[in-house]
Symmetry: C2
Subunit: 95 residues, 2 copies
């Protein structure tokens, strides 16, 4: 089991667009991607420009497959274009 | 429902001590703290000095109560003393 936390600092005037695109990514991933246990969008309670996807995957292979899915390859660059910088991503194992 | 991600950059020679103390905090919190839905310790897969507690709480009031519990007040400063700097904490709501 792999947990992923992908935190984005979004440009303030692009928050609504980012949320719309991220929700499309969430919906497609939950519906289509094998091995997806959790995949949800969160907003920081004190800074609405911090938008984070928290994920749980059954295996590294299925996470890799997700990162090569059509919806991922199409939507992630469009999300990135609305951010202040690169996403801050951690892959975790539970201790 | 509130999600908390508390990421720590731990001093390399203090990782084992940090994990031991954090596991004590996790065990006490899961056992004693009302409103705790999830509370688990994770380690970054590429940097073992990144140790993160991911939490889910039923309400802000019960999260506050956890932060005033004896085990929290006693263990958190001891965890902090083993870190490179302050923890990087986000409180989230799901969108």
């Amino acid at each position: 089991m792999i947990k992923v936390v992908a935190r984005h600092k979004v440009k303030v005037d692009k928050i609504a667009q980012f949320i719309e695109l991220a929700k499309e990514l969430v919906a497609n991933t939950q519906k289509l991607d094998e091995g997806c246990i959790h995949y949800d969008l969160y907003q920081d309670q004190s800074d609405p420009a911090i938008l984070t996807i928290m994920e749980e995957w059954a295996s590294p292979e299925l996470l890799d497959r997700h990162m090569n899915a059509k919806h991922f390859l199409e939507l992630v660059p469009r999300l990135g274009a609305r951010c202040e910088g690169p996403a801050d991503i951690n892959l975790y194992r539970m201790l």
